[in-house]
């Protein structure tokens, strides 16, 4: 079976540029939730056979951020890149990725818990809608067998079991597994691997549905958020409990 993992490499300390978009000048790397998603996909593949494809929509110079996923054992890495994709909101991002996914024909689409910057946790639902596939979100444990994906989901009301027929979209909850550590040999091989590239024109989607043109939201203003006042920091020499309780009493919190 073909498992496609959607990842989003982001700068280690994400900031916004003057247009209120993610400033991508600081390099990019996979996040822990992305690595969890890759690991989950690899475990499914190792169980039932097939291939793992890592997919990302990134500026061309950030494509190398997918190489660690290849080093972990992913079979292919596909980058959707091009100027027409810049400034995409959720709607436009899902449009481009859904088109790329259609081209790949996955049996299972896997996403991490949330991107490292936008943190919307909405993309999987949008992809499921575009592809007409069932969506299993917030999964902590996953098994694939008999043409079905079964998951234990974490929600506000506790743990639930849910399942869906393949093909399906699966989104994880947090860093649900420890990513494998690639060998030195695999890291070197991944450095030399050829990344596949898909251009906006190859997606078969009108440009009006991609990037800023296809977006239905915009950033009007961005400014640093107001910070909390100066903190009092003390060391516990055996009597800090008195200071804590006095402090709570002063603030009428007892």
């Amino acid at each position: 079976m073909r498992i496609v993992v959607c990842v989003k490499p982001v700068p280690p300390e994400p900031t916004l540029d003057d247009a209120g978009r993610l400033d991508r000048s600081g390099g990019a790397a996979l996040t822990g939730v992305d690595e969890s998603a890759v690991e989950t996909a690899l475990r499914v593949r190792d169980g039932v056979g097939g291939e793992v494809v890592v997919l990302a929509m990134v500026p061309p110079d950030a494509a190398d951020a997918l190489r660690p996923a290849l080093a972990m054992g992913a079979d292919r890495a596909v980058v959707v890149a091009g100027d027409a994709l810049a400034g995409a909101d959720l709607l436009a991002t899902s449009s481009a990725l859904a088109a790329a996914l259609r081209g790949l024909g996955p049996d299972l689409v896997v996403l991490g818990a949330a991107s490292g910057d936008g943190n919307g946790a909405l993309l999987w639902a949008a992809l499921g809608e575009r592809l007409g596939l069932p969506v299993l979100s917030r999964a902590v444990e996953v098994t694939v067998a008999d043409g079905r994906v079964r998951a234990t989901r974490q929600t506000e009301s506790g743990l639930h079991r849910a399942e869906a027929e393949l093909p399906a979209v699966l989104a994880l909850s947090g860093e649900v597994c420890v990513p494998r550590y690639p060998s030195f040999r695999d890291v070197i091989a991944a450095k030399k691997a050829v990344l596949e590239t898909v251009t906006p024109a190859e997606l078969g989607v009108p440009e009006s549905e991609l990037g800023a043109a296809g977006s239905r939201t915009r950033v009007l203003a961005a400014a640093p958020a107001p910070a909390r006042g100066e903190a009092e920091i003390i060391e516990d020499d055996g009597d800090a409990h008195e200071r804590v309780v006095d402090f709570l009493a002063q603030r009428r919190l007892l």
């Binding site: 007409g132 079991r161 400014a223 516990d236």
Partner: protein, 324 residues
């Protein structure tokens, strides 16, 4: 202009969270017609909620019964309502279910969706969403192009404001969806180790623990302190990932957001993923062995020390002072 808004409500155990009523208040502030889509198990369950919805601004309550706890049927119901009479604004309080509904609805309606909202205003006739981005470091104003504007609010982010004169909402039954796309099948919540209710939604005092607890056994120390303070227990993601405590109690990016009067962070380093869930608490007290822990950047009082020794002493002193 006149604006039509819809809150897609998500009652839990027959009640609506204060955060959802806060969203309703925000809608009443920017829209002339405010409706609520209220999914309930049986039709009779709606009656008890109509009064409170009227007090916070609902003019029409559309009741739909018997929906499973999955996204697809809700997407179908909202899309059908929108086709009948378009909304300018469709709002949700964030949850694992409402995020799945909002994401799919954006595509179905070709609509923009903004999330993590902590405010919503009408600025010269345009809707402006206020949100905090990038680990709450940045205040961002967002707008929508075309409609409907899909708005996903941060949990417990808004205060509910009662109307001076409560309205009596019109109750309208909504037929269940005829055609629902591909969906998942869900079982009831597993019982094992999960109470499902953390009390965090309403707690004014939250005692939270992180990796620094060292073991699941030490959570009992937090539970005791929470008990004497009349608060609830929260944990950070590493605690849940290690299986020490249920997810319902997880605060942070992949958990819930809390805004209590007091947040007492014990053994939590304060990674940005956690801070986004608690940084708007009234007073923050932090205990950590590492003086460099980032939690000390977002607290009012910080103690460099070992929680396993300090927390029991705080519990004992609070007990002593309250004469219990």
């Amino acid at each position: 202009m006149t604006r039509r808004a819809l809150l897609v409500a998500e009652p839990r155990s027959g009640a609506l969270s204060a955060g959802q009523l806060g969203v309703l208040s925000a809608l009443a502030g920017v829209a002339q017609t405010v409706e609520v889509l209220l999914p309930v198990e049986a039709e009779g369950d709606a009656a008890g909620l109509t009064g409170v919805l009227g007090r916070y601004g609902a003019g029409v309550v559309r009741v739909v019964t018997g929906l499973p706890a999955t996204a697809a049927p809700r997407v179908a119901v909202v899309a059908a309502l929108h086709r009948e009479q378009p909304y300018d604004l469709v709002a949700f309080e964030n949850s694992s279910l409402s995020a799945d509904v909002a994401g799919a609805l954006a595509v179905r309606l070709g609509a923009g969706v903004c999330w993590d909202l902590v405010g919503l205003d009408d600025v010269a006739g345009e809707l402006v969403g206020r949100c905090l981005a990038l680990g709450d470091s940045t205040a961002v104003d967002v707008g929508w192009v075309g409609g409907p504007a899909l708005a996903l609010f941060r949990t417990a982010a808004l205060d509910a404001q009662e109307l001076p004169v409560a309205g009596t909402p019109e109750l309208v039954a909504v037929p269940p969806p005829v055609e629902v796309g591909p969906d998942v099948s869900v079982s009831e919540p597993d019982g094992a180790g999960e109470t499902g209710r953390s009390g965090l939604d309403t707690a004014e005092i939250v005692v939270a623990g992180g990796r620094g607890l060292g073991s699941a056994d030490n959570i009992a120390l937090l539970e005791e302190l929470a008990q004497v303070l009349g608060g609830a227990v929260a944990v950070s993601m590493p605690v849940v990932d290690r299986g020490w405590y249920p997810y319902a109690h997880q605060v942070g990016q992949t958990g819930r957001t809390v805004r209590p009067r007091l947040y007492l962070a014990c053994g939590i380093s304060g990674a940005v993923q956690h801070r986004v869930g608690m940084s708007h608490s009234g007073t923050v007290v932090a205990i950590n062995t590492d003086p460099q822990a980032p939690i000390f950047d977002v607290c009012d009082l910080g103690v460099v020390g070992d929680l396993t020794s300090l927390v029991p002493r705080i519990t004992a002193l609070v007990r002593e002072r309250s004469g219990a």
